[in-house]
Symmetry: C2
Subunit: 456 residues, 2 copies
């Protein structure tokens, strides 16, 4: 990327939960570092684009030629998807364990599978497949839980960097509550491996341009007090690191947590005590949140990774997190595939299932929490997720200064998949709705992360 690139065509992105911007003819100019230098909202397709762009660029004029990417008919640009909750080692177990409750599903399916990542060759093969699979589906940023193994987690970080996916990667801290064959050897080992992984990831991407380590206490059930305390200390000493954990996911899990930590009335108090809650905390699920916890989550600035696929299938019945309530209170929310607890690795499915879950919530709340619209779930899948990951200033939409993390969506002819766009009739907003509700990775023609093409 020795020069400027300009992407010209229709552009759709979210400016806020309630504001979807649909630009029928625009242009995005990206500099050699993958940063958006210019967003033109109203280009005239009949004039010379190069002239228009050059005139709009700040002085001095560019020293090298601008590469123009003119989108074909039926194509449009959207921001890349942000998957705020994803277990990389579970990529190959998606769909398994339907009907199981969370702790049984962990014991019978998941721990056995994750234990295999002790083998670096297995990790390399499976993680490469995972990252390829998500990039292909337009996930330009993922917050990954790894297995408990340090080496496999470093491999995951290496592969994200190599393949060009923006990612948080964290080794799961889990010193108890799981079978002996899949448990950190000791509290010390759990924390030492964590420190070494942090150092490793800093080594391969010193500025955290693409990949960052994320502190990952799996959940309180799997962590001795000393592990939580140690991670809280690491968090304090490393204010740049994000933190992720599972939070109020299922009744079975909440009950087990209360039994292990009788001194805490709820999970907010528990994690806050260990200094793991703050602006950089990504809390997966949050299906059951009391009024007290709502207030505290807002005060603390935590973000919620809403994972409708897993919440409505594996894990313990059917749960519909109070997403509308989070949004009403200004608590940050994004979407997660939760692959493989979530059966689908598609953020498009996550959006559709977020609509389904919100409709259930509408009924369960007696109409108080209205269902989510297509614009709203699209916001959650892009800018909302970016904010949950504290990357709202860097990705999530096409504001000038952000990184060019983008998807070229195709809907006509060979791009069509099972979508049915009626080219001569459907307007851009109709095509967009059809894409969100009926598209799949075949409609995701090209994917860019930080200006680098990673698919197509």
């Amino acid at each position: 990327m020795a020069q400027l690139q300009a992407f010209c065509g229709p552009i759709i992105h979210a400016l806020s939960p309630s504001k979807l911007e649909i630009i029928s003819s625009g242009a995005i100019v990206v500099d050699s570092s993958g940063r958006i230098q210019l967003l033109l909202r109203d280009t005239d397709p009949t004039t010379n684009l190069l002239t228009t762009i050059t005139a709009a660029l700040p002085a001095p004029p560019p020293t090298s030629p601008i590469t123009i990417h003119q989108l074909r008919p039926g194509r449009f640009l959207i921001p890349g998807f942000v998957d705020t909750h994803n277990h990389a080692p579970q990529w190959e177990q998606r769909g398994l364990g339907q009907g199981m409750h969370i702790l049984d599903w962990l014991e019978k399916i998941t721990f056995r599978n994750e234990a295999r990542f002790a083998d670096p060759a297995h990790a390399r093969r499976a993680y490469a497949s995972c990252i390829d699979g998500f990039l292909r589906q337009g996930v330009t940023m993922a917050s990954y839980y790894g297995s408990l193994h340090g080496e496999a987690t470093n491999i995951l970080a290496d592969l994200c960097l190599e393949k060009g996916q923006r990612a948080f990667v964290g080794k799961c801290n889990m010193s108890r509550g799981s079978p002996g064959y899949y448990r950190d050897a000791s509290v010390k080992e759990s924390l030492d491996v964590t420190e070494r992984c942090i150092e490793y990831v800093r080594g391969i991407d010193p500025e955290g341009r693409l990949v960052k380590y994320v502190l990952t206490p799996r959940f309180a059930i799997s962590c001795d007090d000393e592990v939580l305390k140690g991670l809280g200390g690491i968090a304090r000493r490393n204010p740049d690191l994000p933190i992720q954990t599972h939070f109020n996911e299922a009744e079975q899990e909440m009950q087990a947590t209360r039994e292990l930590f009788p001194q805490f009335a709820n999970e907010v108090d528990l994690y806050a005590h260990f200094r793991l809650l703050g602006k950089r905390s990504i809390l997966a699920h949050c299906c059951y949140v009391s009024e007290y916890e709502m207030v505290r989550l807002k005060e603390l600035g935590c973000g919620v990774a809403h994972c409708p696929a897993s919440n409505m299938t594996v894990g313990g019945g059917f749960m519909a997190a109070p997403v509308r309530e989070f949004m009403r209170r200004g608590i940050k929310v994004g979407l997660g595939t939760d692959s493989g607890g979530g059966y689908s690795s598609s953020m498009l499915d996550a959006m559709r299932l977020a609509i389904v879950a919100s409709n259930a919530r509408e009924v369960m709340s007696g109409g108080k929490d209205g269902g989510l619209s297509i614009s709203e779930v699209f916001y959650l899948a892009t800018l909302g997720g970016a904010e949950v990951c504290c990357l709202g200033d860097k990705i999530g939409n096409f504001e000038v200064g952000k990184a060019f993390d983008a998807i070229v969506v195709g809907t006509l002819g060979e791009d069509q998949g099972v979508m049915t766009v009626v080219g001569e009739e459907d307007g851009l907003s109709t095509v967009f709705e059809k894409f969100v509700m009926t598209g799949d990775d075949r409609n995701i023609i090209q994917v860019y992360v930080q200006g680098r093409r990673v698919k197509g």
Copy 2:
């Protein structure tokens, strides 16, 4: 098909809601009429298959050679999917109108779209796309609602026959309640067009081998008493014809029905009065069913087309039909995509969403109605649907004597799509679960209807 064909490899089909048969190495022999002549459940892959099959065939020996189709690694056979509720003219509007209640969605999106099928050229193009789209996704049998137009409905029947899809096709009877531009001109016209379509479909497929007319009062709201009465008469005079309508779909719809027909306490009494309920009735949705109606539906032998995608999105909030209760009582149930009220045209999505809806029902019933398993939703998508359509003796699984309506599923290498089968490790039942939960039409390699290959 001048000879016998034998399909050899792994076979999976439902024998009942609770019995999934998984044959790791079997063979299905299909005669020249597309009928299953033999099902071998335990073939030895190391011996000569032709010898085994020939020995198992009833005397006299076949006069012409048997064509052996040996499935490649990672492939297996399942019965074709039966979509019990599907609006063919809505194929191109899938996904639109999220958040709208049923009557608004009809008025603002659907009627305008369906009205265009007055133009035979439009109907031919759109219906060809629809049938191709469903065959590609493994729907070997669909019960289609057409538009209100006789000519377009005949075109739909022609195209199903030509493309080889098993189908019921019916013109919508709708003499009131919709805008003037999309309404049967009169009661007489509504019934006359129906009679002519019945005759037309009998003309092109006299034995109803693939295509049959289905009486299709859209719903009571759209039918004058005289239309319902007239259709009841046609049903009585034509005991071979199936009947379909929408039934207790949404509160808004039920309320409007009660206002139009104050003489009936519920929809069972209403449709039964007009002699439209019986063994051959396919009732879409049935989201709200009282104890009285449950008893009556069972007595009358009606079948239910459960459509989770539309029930949980478009139509009026979130509804989860009492599928477990239907099954417990022995009321026939199958699945419908309800495309385009349902955003997805995939029966795989219908299965997944049936699991989601059943999990919601489990919560709403206080645990009384347990969630559905993968085996159960697979039953609903195949044999259950066949029984709803009164075709349980002809399709739905691979019993000897039934038609060979089948899908060759592929899961490895170029067949893989976004599935992740670990070839050397995953057993057949694991691969099957992964297919149901994570597969798509890319894993549907070949599709057969009545022994004829219609995809691949």
